[in-house]
Symmetry: C2
Subunit: 473 residues, 2 copies
């Protein structure tokens, strides 16, 4: 399914606003009102994503101006904006992911993944025979599509493969960029499956003021960092689009197949493209879709179209793969399954994700121990109180504290993390002490990454990036 | 330069209508009125191409309905419609090519080639040392862009190369399809230059209800017919897009370069795409543009970007190459030069070009001598009179007679052709006799083609279609 049209959404929003008002007037149970409000917010988010403008009751799309929002009182938090190019939230604890996946109920089926619940985490543990990764235990990977189908394949000893990627817009990768790769490496290890990593250097050329050669060079430099995460050289193929498109007729065939089955109207709805966008941007989504189909990699899978693909990625990439899942059956391919992660917050707070373009928002993989210490101390948004006295008395708020959020991503020990949360909430742990714990966690992690990266020779990069047979047993 | 916007065109048309009326009112010299009317018709043609609707005075684009055409009296012939997917004319002698290239004067510079005049034909003869091809002598190739620049290169002993192509929508090629190839072979022979031939099987997949494999197969079958025209195997590379895109990173790089520098607005203006077109169609023009740049073929030209390209093609392909010439300087490439041919008329008359989809409109390269005879006798539109008596008395009209038009394409002897024209005009030659002359010209030509095609083995096709070094001395 593709996105709903702006007018349909508008009409559904009008109706839902009526529902909320009517429930409130009837003094309906709080749980029912909350569910209806949650659905309303979800629909507003989708409306903003599709139209680029806030929903206003009484103002249909294209005519939105100054009218009143009839249900304004229900929208205390403002809207979250999530697409592949920007993520923002008006809440300091960040995007409301339950709302994003529509935990209660939602009419916009297409925008909704399923929550990764305890049952699914337990099933992954059972089938892999391993303790679930901390990203699963802590809801950092929080949503999925068809993950049970992947696990069915595992039970039936059918093959599947992993696909993830990165847009190489600069040489400098930061901590947030590592999240999908850390998790993907874990999946590769516990299930022993092949992995393809797409470096969209063509995308970066189309979107940024960069030359083709710069984008290609960033792709290779980023590949070094990805390899340093420890992927299995016998099971991993990393490719630059600029290289692989010109090296694989099978890949181009799938690109053209997707391009035939997606209209400009659809990509306009999904990605917000306009008539003044270049035709390269407009057709690019097909290139990100193609690796979801196993016959894009004949050197690995031969001409098999039935090897299930599983894509671990941040939630902002979901629009590409909703489009892909929409097209798949029409070109006789399997829909890829997905695991969605939350964003990695910027040092300044969870309102936006960490971004390479603002050096103070990010801890880079090239930062020294001293730089890490300074950045955390200076820029990491604190959930602590203004004075030590108040902090001791009222305690800090770990839900908005960036140092605590980072520890959730990188501290392995659940008990230790929970103790920190309790002590920070109670006021026993001060902000400076919490930051020190984070610094002591990040410094060795980044140093180890840098050591691993040094060991990645040109020959190793070359090998990972050569189209070749993989060990897919 | 890209096309003017619909509104700009509309305003210019309004102004030009005023000019025509004013000139007539002043009883201006006929030559001035004619020039102004010609320009008006040219602008109407462009308006229809851009908006898809006829120009109506007083009805701006998007609101065209029932209003009066203020200068209707000047438009006796109706409008010609020429784009890459359809060609039609309301005149039995076909599209008015002088108008198409704007011989008098025109404001829409971008739609205007230069006429191939006697001076240019003489210069080609002088530099090649050969009698100009009958297509040049007879104005079948009638318009060009920058051909003098190509001839300057020849004089300076700088290299150039030829690029032409075909959309393989079926196995069956007809006589009209041969025209650009016959002429391109002559250019290759007299100038001794390399040639690349693009088979746009990806385009046909995107536009038609065909599978990728069908399109790829048609490409190979069409390559056989193209090879049978006698191209030099040491100087000719024929490629299927579906193959070559996946075999040449350099080609894909140029595709992406072009895609970055062309917007949806531009392709909408040039090709009439709409929001409901698939994203493959929208980005395809970049794929037809890429072979215009020598660095798309590193196996032939290395990384040279300065080898001038010359494209012989039918006039309906010009929009692709106007777009290409617009983009070229912005990606530091040379603009391709062009030689435009008129269309090859259908048997039923010059109002439309011969089309594979109507078997009775076409003489196929697979037709038997008997089929050729029957089709000419039964379907070739005649410029003769209704009875022998009338014909003898008033004579026939060779300008609308399809048999005579075909003889212009395929009879080599100028004197003989002129004699036929005179005799047909005077009534000395009857329609049946003219048809017989045509049949006797086409039967051996098609039979010879069939013989040549039989000699094209799979190995020869394979060799022509392998990316490889060519003899470019």
């Amino acid at each position: 399914m593709s996105s709903l049209g702006a007018m349909e959404l508008y009409e559904q929003l009008m109706a839902q606003g009526e529902t909320v008002r009517s429930l409130k007037a009837q003094k309906a149970p709080k749980v029912d009102v909350d569910a209806a409000v949650e659905q309303l917010l979800q629909m507003k988010l989708e409306f903003k994503r599709v139209t680029g403008a806030d929903y206003k009751a009484g103002c249909p799309p294209e005519k939105v101006d100054v009218s009143q929002d009839g249900v304004n009182d229900t929208n205390d938090e403002g809207a979250d904006l999530v697409d592949p190019w920007s993520v923002s939230s008006s809440s300091a604890s960040g995007v409301d992911y339950d709302k994003l996946i529509g935990v209660s109920q939602a009419t916009c089926e297409s925008f909704r993944g399923s929550k990764i619940d305890q049952e699914l985490v337990d099933r992954i543990a059972r089938l892999s025979g391993k303790t679930p990764h901390r990203f699963l235990r802590r809801g950092i990977f929080f949503s999925h599509r068809d993950m049970h189908q992947v696990l069915d394949a595992v039970e039936q000893r059918k093959p599947f493969y992993l696909y993830t990627g990165r847009g190489p817009s600069s040489q400098a990768m930061h901590l947030g960029h590592l999240v999908p790769f850390i998790f993907t490496k874990w999946l590769q290890d516990v299930f022993g499956v092949p992995l393809v990593v797409q470096l969209t250097d063509d995308e970066k050329y189309l979107w940024k003021d960069l030359t083709l050669d710069e984008c290609r060079r960033f792709a290779v430099e980023n590949a070094r960092d990805i390899i340093a995460c420890g992927f299995d050289i016998n099971k991993t193929f990393i490719f630059s689009d600029l290289d692989y498109m010109g090296a694989s007729p099978a890949f181009y065939r799938n690109v053209v197949r997707v391009q035939k089955h997606v209209t400009f109207n659809q990509v306009k709805g999904i990605f917000g493209f306009s008539d003044s966008d270049c035709i390269g941007k407009i057709s690019f989504p097909a290139i990100q879709a193609a690796p979801s189909f196993s016959n894009s990699f004949p050197q690995i899978f031969g001409d098999r179209t039935d090897v299930q693909c599983l894509i671990p990625c941040a939630i902002d990439q979901d629009p590409y793969f909703r489009m892909t899942r929409d097209v798949a059956p029409r070109i006789s391919c399997l829909k890829p399954a997905l695991l969605h992660s939350t964003f990695f917050p910027a040092l300044q707070g969870a309102q936006t994700k960490m971004s390479s373009s603002d050096p103070n928002s990010s801890i880079f993989l090239t930062d020294t121990a001293k730089q890490i210490k300074n950045k955390v101390n200076k820029h990491a948004f604190s959930g602590g109180k203004d004075t030590v006295e108040e902090h001791r008395k009222f305690g800090g708020n770990p839900d908005v504290d960036v140092s605590f959020m980072y520890l959730r991503f990188f501290m392995e020990d659940d008990e230790q993390l929970e103790k920190i949360r309790q002590n920070y909430s109670s006021g026993a742990l001060l902000t400076g002490e919490l930051k020190k714990l984070l610094i002591e966690t990040l410094q060795p992690l980044v140093a180890e990454h840098q050591e691993n990266r040094k060991l990645v020779t040109d020959e190793i990069v070359q090998q990972f990036m050569s189209p070749r047979k993989l060990n897919i047993s």
